[in-house]
Symmetry: C2
């Protein structure tokens, strides 16, 4: 089982929070030893979206709910890896926990489009084979990440969209649901609030700069996972409901290989979350891999440069989680907070929300 473990020996460097900021109290152990961790043959890092997440706007109950759900997702993914499962299996299992939780903007709990429906996007990439799959704009597939996996493994394609993607998912035997399944009152209320504001202003929402100031989190909450399995293989996946009040079949970075998701054993696996348009234009996930491959950067340096310098310069908010084949983990974001966490060999999940 562990024949390949000898290849995985390097130190696990955990870059958590933002720009080397200290960990939250929630994880005191991190503050005592915040850069080098013991080597681990398996590891998993996740996010549940980045955005203007501030402690003063959070109730203790809500905070606790996030910590618990992130912990549950990590434990499920870890159990898959620990039993000899692949990184692809762990990514799917982990993301499905978050897709099924109304806390996150993916699957159940996804934000609403302008037309009051939920249109879901997801992608997955297997760093051992370089294969990838993605779906965009699906409305009736219970688990978009599972649909992305089917595209990767049971079609010659990488990306399928709309009703075509749904027909394919159905053909593959995936669980289909009534669009109503994705409804949550909280997300619907968010849409109504934005629509009321648009109506009052007489705007169409096509110039969303003012809207983004008013509703800074209308586009955040994407979930993602990156895993390293005991065979030394990396996989990454991302799943989202996109942007509240999105129009015109808008697709963000989550289903775009290279922007929202990328995995390559030789470099790293990355899952992005944030203002998708910036992540597409800057090819964020692959840019981190390219900096490692061609620029000789570590995953930490590469993520730091792309998220904290390049994106900040351009005004693109959000973050990434990722890991390399040595188990070095990054959780880098330039926003107020990012729901995030990791787990590795020892099997103790660490979860975080805020920058400080």
């Amino acid at each position: 089982m562990n024949v390949l473990n000898s290849y995985i020996v390097a130190a696990l460097v955990v870059v958590y929070g933002c720009n080397n900021s200290p960990a939250v109290d929630h994880s005191e152990s991190m503050q005592e030893n915040d850069t080098i961790k013991e080597a681990g043959p398996i590891s998993l890092v996740i996010h549940g979206g980045a955005g203007t997440i501030k402690k003063e706007n959070m109730t203790p109950e809500k905070e606790q709910a996030y910590y618990e759900k992130l912990t549950e997702a990590l434990n499920i993914g870890y159990a898959i890896l620990d039993k000899g499962g692949t990184s692809v299996e762990a990514v799917i299992g982990t993301i499905q926990v978050m897709e099924e939780s109304p806390l996150f903007n993916s699957g159940k709990g996804a934000v609403f489009t302008s037309e009051g429906v939920n249109e879901l996007d997801a992608s997955i990439m297997d760093g051992s084979s370089g294969m990838a799959g993605a779906v965009a704009g699906v409305k009736t597939v219970k688990s978009p990440i599972a649909a992305a996996y089917e595209v990767m493994t049971h079609s010659p394609h990488v990306m399928m969209t709309g009703s075509g993607a749904e027909a394919f998912a159905r053909m593959q035997g995936l669980e289909m649901v009534d669009p109503e399944y994705f409804f949550t009152q909280r997300r619907y209320d968010q849409l109504m609030k934005i629509k009321e504001k648009e109506a009052a202003e007489g705007t169409t929402g096509m110039n969303n700069s003012s809207r983004n100031r008013e509703f800074p989190d209308n586009k955040f909450g994407t979930v993602g996972a990156v895993a390293l399995d005991q065979y030394g293989n990396i996989a990454a996946g991302t799943s989202t409901g996109g942007m509240t009040n999105k129009k015109f079949g808008r697709v963000g970075d989550s289903p775009i290989i290279g922007a929202g998701t990328f995995a390559e054993n030789a470099t790293c696996g990355i899952s992005s979350t944030g203002h998708g348009e910036y992540f597409i234009r800057n090819v964020v996930a692959y840019d981190i891999a390219a900096l490692m491959k061609y620029g000789g950067k570590t995953i930490t340096e590469a993520a730091e440069y792309v998220i904290m310098e390049k994106l900040v310069e351009k005004g693109g908010s959000g973050g990434v989680v990722g890991l390399d084949r040595q188990g070095n983990i990054t959780m880098t974001f330039n926003s107020e907070g990012m729901y995030r966490g990791f787990i590795y060999e020892k099997g103790k999940p660490e979860v975080f929300i805020y920058k400080n």
Copy 2:
């Protein structure tokens, strides 16, 4: 008008054909002086698709038609640049000539989906601003590249899909057409031939490896253009009908920023054509830029490595055209042929079809 010309002084290196192969007779001047050309403040390079294009399968009339249409496209783009137009304007004008020609798999002349319709994808990127726009799966927009431009300039988004993208294009006042406009008998016959074969074999086309051997060009014919204007700005664009008999809302690389199209003044502009799935998984267009930026490669070296080594190793056929801010041009492909050409300062278009 020419205040910025002094910044554009480097030699124009033209890498034409495949892997340093000699030019076709069509362009004798190229054979005499095939590496270094005089500096040029404006230049334009285009493709009309790569694939199994062999002289023995071509009639002189058809060959002539391709040469003439490529020349026309180059002349129109050059005229825009020469009059002080921007690289974005030149890319659109050039691509529209090819979109309107039934010779290419884009706009009129696009291939048919499995359902017997034409679903068009396009993207554009402005290397001066880093802005980008894309549409996927549109059926009634006469010029998909114009729709991509509208997304880039008149929406906060990068990518729109399906009927949403069409509604947006209509709202922007673009010319809408009946889907019938895109019909060509030749492309319809190609679909029928594949469908007959599928029926005879009882296959669904979801395992397309055998289909691709039988119909090696079912997915080629995408068009693209990359321009450098007198202000030193690079733009790139790509427009396609995708793959004959495509199913399930399949989207290839053409509307994916980083895969089918990328432009950045500091590095290069690239437009891809070929087997889209490979181009997505390998983030081809951005990979060339990243090799220049982080790996210190020239555009020639970078394109050569990505197309002739990385893609060939993985079995991905196709090619790219591109240029950098110094006016160095690449037209690199690993297939039998690629409809292609370039024009620069002197205003004399050079067009090619075959490898040798």
